[in-house]
C-alpha cells in the first residue's frame, strides 16, 4: 500500500513536471499578468547587451534594433519563460557577446571573485598594519632621531611662534 502511494506520488510529480513546458507555451492555460510579464522582461533585458550600443544593456538602449529585441523578449515573457530562460535563448540565437553579466564560471568567475578578494586581502593587511601601529611606532622609527638642521630649527621656531600667535588671537 505504501509503495503504491509513493509510486502514485512519483507519477504525479513526473506528470506535473512534464506538463510545465507545455503549459509555459500556452498562455491560455498558464496566464501571466501583463505586469508580471513586464517584470520578467525587464529582468532579462538588464542581463542582455544592446545589439547596437556598446556597454548599454538592452533595457536602456533607445535604438530601433534594441526596441525590436525588447518586443521579442516581452513576447517570450508573456509565453511564461523565466528571465534566465529568455537570456539563454537570446544568447543561444545571437551569440555570447549578448551577455552583459559575466557567468559565474570559467573566465567570467574571475570578474566576480577579484573585487571581494582584493577587499578581503586589503582588510587583512589593514588589520595587520593597525595592530603593528597599535603596538607602537618604535619598530618603524629609527632608534635615534636624526639631528635637526639649522634650517629646520628656524622653520620649527617660526611655526611654533605662529601657533602661539594663532592661539593668542583665538
Amino acid at each position: 500500500m505504501r509503495i503504491r502511494t509513493i509510486r502514485a506520488l512519483a507519477l504525479a510529480v513526473l506528470a506535473a513536471a512534464s506538463s510545465v513546458p507545455l503549459r509555459a507555451q500556452d498562455p491560455a492555460t498558464s496566464p501571466i499578468s501583463a505586469d508580471d510579464a513586464m517584470r520578467v522582461a525587464n529582468a532579462a533585458e538588464t542581463q542582455l547587451r544592446s545589439p547596437v550600443t556598446p556597454g548599454h544593456t538592452l533595457d536602456m538602449c533607445p535604438s530601433a534594433e534594441a526596441s525590436a529585441l525588447r518586443d521579442t523578449v516581452l513576447w517570450q515573457a508573456k509565453q511564461g519563460m523565466t528571465s534566465d530562460q529568455i537570456v539563454e535563448d537570446v544568447i543561444g540565437r545571437r551569440g555570447e557577446e549578448m551577455r552583459i553579466v559575466p557567468r559565474h564560471s570559467g573566465t567570467g568567475l574571475l570578474a566576480w571573485i577579484a573585487p571581494p578578494f582584493v577587499l578581503l586581502v586589503g582588510a587583512g593587511a589593514l588589520t595587520a598594519k593597525m595592530r603593528r601601529m597599535r603596538r607602537g611606532a618604535s619598530a618603524d622609527l629609527p632608534e635615534t632621531a636624526a639631528p635637526i638642521t639649522a634650517d629646520d630649527r628656524a622653520l620649527l621656531d617660526r611655526a611654533l611662534r605662529q601657533m602661539e600667535r594663532e592661539e593668542a588671537a583665538s
Binding site: 559575466p102 593597525m130 607602537g136 622609527l141
Partner: protein, 686 residues
C-alpha cells in the same frame, strides 16, 4: 590666425621642453636663475597655448572647413555657442584644451609661489612641464588640430547631435578642470619626494588645490549624469560606461586622499599612504584621458580608436608608474609614521577603513572596466561587463561608506570611550531604527533601498547633531542668536563644517539613487486621443493622453514634437512635449525626452518611435501612431540636489578664512640667487 596657432603649438612644445630641463637642472644644482627661467617658460607656454586655442575657435567661427577637425565637428548652421565649445568636442581639440587648463593652473601655481615654497618650486615646475610636454608631443605628432584636408568642403559634417546639449558644454570642461587640478598636488608630492621634505607641508600647501580638483571632478561627474539623463533617452543617469568609470576612478582615490591627509596633519601617520594615494589619483586621471582617447574599450563616449595615441599614453603611464614607484621606494625611510594608533575604536581607524573601501571601490570599477581586455587576454574571448556587475559589486561598498560617513566625523580621535560612543551615537542609531521600522511598516521590501534610507537617516542625524551642538555652544558662550551663531560657527571652521555639508549632500544623493528601486515604466503605442495610466511609487496615478504630433524646422535640424496632456489622479497637471530631432548634416535622428519635474519624482517620457515620420513632415499623415516609453523616476531630483549641496559644502571648505594668519614673506628670489640661501618660507596654503 590659424597659422599663428599652429606655430604657437610648436613653440610651446620647445619652450616647455626647455623649461622642464632647466627646472630639474636648476633644482639639482641649486641655480635660481635656471629655476626662474623655467618658471617663466610656464607662463610662455600658457600664452602660446591660449593662442592655439584662440586659433582653433577662430577656425570654427569662420567655418574654415579645410581643417579636418573643424569639418568633423562643425557645420555652417551650427549655433555660435557650439562652435565655441567645438574646441573640446573632439579628440584633438580636447587635448589642446586639457593642456591649456594645465598650463593655466601651472602659471597660477608659479605666480602664487614666486616668494614662498621656493625649495619645492624647481621640481614642481619641472613636473608640471613634463606633463605638459607629453600632451604637447601627442598633439603635435599624432593629433594636430591644424591638419588640413586635400580639398575644402563647402560645409562640415556637423557636431554629434548628442553633444548639442548645454550640459555637454560644461561637463567636459568641469572634468578636465578636475583632472588637471590634481596635477598640482601631484607635482608638489613629486617635489617633496625629490627634495626629501616629506613633512605635511606639501599637503597643507596644496590643500586648496586638492579641494578645487575634487570640486570640479565632482560637479563634472554630476553634470555628466545630468547630460546622460536628459540626452541619452533611457531614463537613467549612470550606466557604468568605461568613460564614465574613468572619471570615477580618480574621484574615488582623490576622496580617500582628502580624508587620509587629515590623519597625517593631526597625527603624523599615513605619510606613505598619502603619497601613494596622490600618485594613484594623478595616474588615474591620465588613465581616464587614455581610456577616452585610445578607443581600446568600447564606449559610447570615447573618441574613435587611435592605437598610436593609445600606445603613447600607455608608454607615458608606464614611465610615470615606474618613476613614481621608484621615488617612493627611494624615500621609504622618511615616510615612516610619527605616532601610533591607540585604538581600533578611533577616528583614525574609521578613516583607514574609509580609505580601504574607497580603494576597493576603485579596484572594482577598474577591474570591471578593464575586464573585457583581461578576459580576451586570458581566454581569447572578450567578456562584456555591464551595469548589473558594477551594481552588485559596488552597492555593498557604497552602503558601508554611507555608514562610515556618519561614524567617521563624530568618533573621537585617538581612542573612543564607551561614553563617547553612547553620547554620539544613541540619537542617530535611534533615528535610523525608527526610519527602518516605519519603512518596513509601509511595505518597503527592497533590501538595498531600505538599508540606504536607514543608513542615510543615521548619517544625516550625526551631521545635524554636530551643527546643533556647535551652534548651541556658540550661542551660549558668545550670547549670539541661533542663526548668527550658526553662521559664525561655519565661518570659524569652514573646513570642518564644509565637510559636514558635503556629507549631507552625499546622503541626499544616495537617497536619490535608492529611489531608482521604486521606479515604474511602461512602453505603449498610442494614436492621438488615446491615453495610458502609470502609477507612481508615491501612490498617485498619471494619465497621459497623446494629443498630437507637430513638426517644424529649426536651425540645423527638423523637430517632430509629440504633445501629451498630463493628469494626476484626474486633476489636470499640464502638457508635456517629447521630441524626435533629425539633424541635417549628420542624418541622425535622436530623441529629446520630455521631463515633468517635481520635488520627489520625475515623469519621464521618451518618444521611442513614430510610425510614419516622413508622412508627418510631408503632411500626409498628421496624426501618426507613436510609441512612448514612459517612466516615473522617484527621488531623481534628490540626486541633483545632493550634488548641489556637495558643491556648496566644498566651496564652504574652500573659501578663504577671514581670519588669515599673519604671513611672513620671504624675500624675492632674484636671478642668479641660489634657492639654498633663500630663508625658509612660512606654513601657508597655496
Amino acid at each position: 590666425m590659424t597659422q599663428i596657432g599652429e606655430i604657437a603649438l610648436w613653440v610651446a612644445l620647445l619652450v616647455g621642453a626647455w623649461g622642464a630641463t632647466l627646472a630639474f637642472v636648476g633644482g639639482r644644482t641649486g641655480r635660481g636663475d635656471l629655476v626662474l627661467s623655467a618658471e617663466r617658460s610656464v607662463w610662455v607656454v600658457f600664452a602660446l597655448l591660449a593662442t592655439t586655442a584662440g586659433a582653433i575657435i577662430s577656425a570654427f567661427l569662420h567655418d574654415e572647413f579645410r581643417y579636418e577637425y573643424v569639418t568633423g565637428h562643425s557645420n555652417r548652421e551650427l549655433p555660435f555657442f557650439y562652435k565655441v565649445t567645438g574646441l573640446w568636442a573632439g579628440q584633438t581639440g580636447s587635448l589642446v584644451f586639457w593642456s591649456l587648463l594645465l598650463a593655466l593652473f601651472s602659471s597660477i601655481v608659479v605666480f602664487q609661489n614666486r616668494r614662498r615654497n621656493r625649495e619645492f618650486m624647481p621640481y614642481v615646475t619641472g613636473t608640471l612641464l613634463v606633463v605638459l610636454v607629453f600632451f604637447l608631443t601627442v598633439i603635435v605628432t599624432q593629433s594636430n588640430p591644424f591638419t588640413t584636408l586635400d580639398f575644402t568642403p563647402t560645409d562640415g559634417r556637423g557636431l554629434n547631435p548628442q553633444l548639442q546639449n548645454y550640459w555637454m558644454t560644461i561637463h567636459p570642461p568641469a572634468l578636465y578642470l578636475g583632472f588637471t587640478c590634481f596635477t598640482i598636488p601631484f607635482a608638489f608630492c613629486v617635489s617633496a619626494l625629490l627634495s626629501g621634505r616629506l613633512d605635511t607641508r606639501w599637503i597643507t600647501t596644496t590643500r586648496r588645490w586638492t579641494l578645487v580638483a575634487w570640486f570640479f571632478l565632482t560637479i563634472g561627474i554630476i553634470f555628466g549624469m545630468m547630460w546622460a539623463y536628459v540626452e541619452l533617452g533611457w531614463g537613467g543617469f549612470w550606466f557604468w560606461d568605461p568613460v564614465e568609470n574613468a572619471s570615477l576612478l580618480p574621484w574615488l582615490t582623490g576622496t580617500a586622499f582628502v580624508h587620509s591627509v587629515m590623519i597625517q596633519e593631526k597625527r603624523g601617520m599615513l605619510k606613505m599612504w598619502n603619497v601613494l594615494l596622490m600618485m594613484s589619483t594623478f595616474l588615474l586621471s591620465i588613465f581616464a584621458t587614455f581610456l577616452t582617447r585610445s578607443g581600446l574599450i568600447e564606449s559610447v563616449h570615447s573618441f574613435a580608436q587611435n592605437l598610436p595615441i593609445a600606445y603613447t599614453f600607455l608608454a607615458f603611464l608606464g614611465v610615470m608608474v615606474v618613476g613614481t614607484a621608484g621615488l617612493v621606494w627611494w624615500r621609504r625611510d622618511r615616510l615612516a609614521p610619527e605616532s601610533r594608533l591607540e585604538s581600533f575604536l578611533s577616528r583614525e581607524a574609521a578613516f583607514l577603513l574609509n580609505n580601504l573601501l574607497f580603494v576597493a571601490a576603485m579596484f572594482a570599477v577598474l577591474w570591471g572596466t578593464m575586464f573585457p581586455l583581461i578576459s580576451e587576454g586570458v581566454s581569447g574571448h572578450k567578456i562584456t561587463v555591464g551595469p548589473p556587475f558594477f551594481n552588485r559589486v559596488n552597492i555593498p561598498i557604497g552602503l558601508l561608506l554611507l555608514a562610515l560617513l556618519g561614524i567617521g566625523p563624530v568618533i573621537a580621535w585617538r581612542k573612543a570611550t564607551a561614553r563617547n560612543l553612547r553620547r554620539n551615537f544613541t540619537l542617530p542609531v535611534s533615528v535610523a531604527l525608527v526610519v527602518g521600522t516605519v519603512l518596513l511598516a509601509t511595505g518597503v521590501r527592497h533590501v538595498y533601498a531600505l538599508l540606504t534610507f536607514v543608513l542615510a537617516s543615521f548619517t544625516m542625524t550625526t551631521v545635524v547633531v554636530e551643527f546643533w551642538k556647535g551652534t548651541r555652544a556658540r550661542a551660549r558662550i558668545e550670547g549670539e542668536g541661533a542663526a548668527v551663531a550658526l553662521i559664525h560657527l561655519v565661518q570659524r571652521n569652514r573646513r570642518r563644517y564644509g565637510g559636514y555639508i558635503v556629507h549631507a549632500g552625499l546622503v541626499v544623493l544616495f537617497c536619490g539613487l535608492a529611489g531608482k528601486a521604486f521606479g515604474t515604466e511602461k512602453e505603449v503605442a498610442l494614436s492621438p486621443g488615446e491615453w495610458v495610466d502609470i502609477r507612481s511609487a508615491w501612490g498617485h496615478t498619471y494619465r497621459l493622453t497623446y494629443q498630437d504630433m507637430s513638426w517644424y524646422t529649426a536651425p540645423n535640424m527638423t523637430k517632430l514634437v509629440a504633445s501629451m496632456d498630463v493628469r494626476i489622479d484626474g486633476r489636470r497637471a499640464g502638457v508635456m512635449a517629447s521630441e524626435k530631432r533629425s539633424y541635417r548634416q549628420r542624418e541622425e535622428v535622436v530623441s529629446e525626452v520630455g521631463i515633468r519635474r517635481a520635488w520627489n519624482e520625475d515623469l519621464y517620457v521618451i518618444l521611442a518611435g513614430i510610425e510614419d515620420m516622413d508622412g508627418v513632415v510631408r503632411g500626409t499623415n498628421p496624426r501618426p501612431l507613436a510609441t512612448f516609453h514612459i517612466l516615473v523616476n522617484p527621488l531623481v531630483p534628490w540626486i541633483w540636489l545632493g550634488g548641489l549641496i556637495m558643491a556648496i559644502g566644498t566651496l564652504t571648505a574652500l573659501w578663504p578664512s577671514a581670519e588669515a594668519p599673519p604671513r611672513v614673506r620671504a624675500p624675492r628670489l632674484s636671478a642668479g640667487a641660489r634657492p639654498a640661501r633663500v630663508p625658509e618660507p612660512e606654513l601657508v596654503e597655496a
